[in-house]
Subunit: 185 residues, 2 copies
Amino acid sequence: MTRPGGRSARVQESVHAAVRALETEQGRAALTVPLVAARAGVTPSTIYRRWGDLQELLSDVAVERLRPEAPPADHGALRTDLETWAEQFLEEMASPPGRAYLRDALAGDPDGSHAGRCSAYAAEQVDVILARAADRGEQVPDADIVMDHIVAPMIYRLVFRPGPMDASYARGLVEATLSGLMPPH
Amino acid sequence: MTRPGGRSARVQESVHAAVRALETEQGRAALTVPLVAARAGVTPSTIYRRWGDLQELLSDVAVERLRPEAPPADHGALRTDLETWAEQFLEEMASPPGRAYLRDALAGDPDGSHAGRCSAYAAEQVDVILARAADRGEQVPDADIVMDHIVAPMIYRLVFRPGPMDASYARGLVEATLSGLMPPH
DNA sequence: GAGCCAAAAGCAAAATAATTGCGTTACGCC
DNA sequence: GGCGTAACGCAATTATTTTGCTTTTGGCTC
């Protein structure tokens, strides 16, 4: 991986594309390293040497798919921005594919770096929202508070607790977090 | 697994014991299904048929090890009970073996039931603490509030965010949660 | 822009692991 | 005490993973 371009990059993209294609065509359960390799036009040993095993490869692909595609929408107010973002985040993560990506991202992650990238994605989005609000002169909570009080409960429930969650749960978390900012009255 | 006793139970215990022994002797990375089977005095196909693959077996063992061994200590006050429990919970989960069990428990969990058992363990402990406090006549938060505001942030950071956490972080979460109970002044 | 070095990929054989069909054992139940 | 069946053992088959060696090729220096 010390070589960012050329054949290495082509192989990486080809293998990732093969995983994505086979996931939709045959389902994740059907994936094997030899199968992915054949589809990518690569020998299995290439995958084993670069990714270690199937799980790490799937984790790599999953993290990529969890990366936000755009900065969070700007509605001109902290509360609205956070609510909208939290609802959308929850919806994406709680959807069947979202859950699958999250699971894969965690499962093939020997040192926690993949999981770290996932939380960094969320933290970046939160930072953007908070920075914009601060620029407007709004009083903003600390980013860690948002991660602890809004992101963590949603993801914890998603990963550890059975049962559904809906958008109102996300809104409630935002509400509770922001109301903590107001001086008591 | 529909047979709770007899040979089935002996095989299960023998396999679990083999996993635990080999984990300490050789390290988790060295484990394979045939190795575990040999140590347990069982044929590999037995393991494959009962657990599916190595990961599910390791997840099964890990969940077992995450089960609390005793109810939380009773110090006569909600705040102290929660603080003590949260500190100890964090310490156990953040330790290298704790992290490894947590990782294994999640990794070999196709349908989320193992993760569900983990959170149920924590929820049980919390329920005991809250019920005792309520019996004393103390004002107690909802169990879900405790899970969302205390357990979720710790586990989220543990699983997703790099870097250490110490006991004071756990205390701070308890503090913030309980102070939310007090009427504003 | 030619040549060199080393990282990454290909290839193929060998080792290891996973699957499966079939016979046997032994719970749980009547 | 005997029956039915779930779980296990065994062994052959199949698939995957590992590994040593060779070839390709990206990046760097001169």
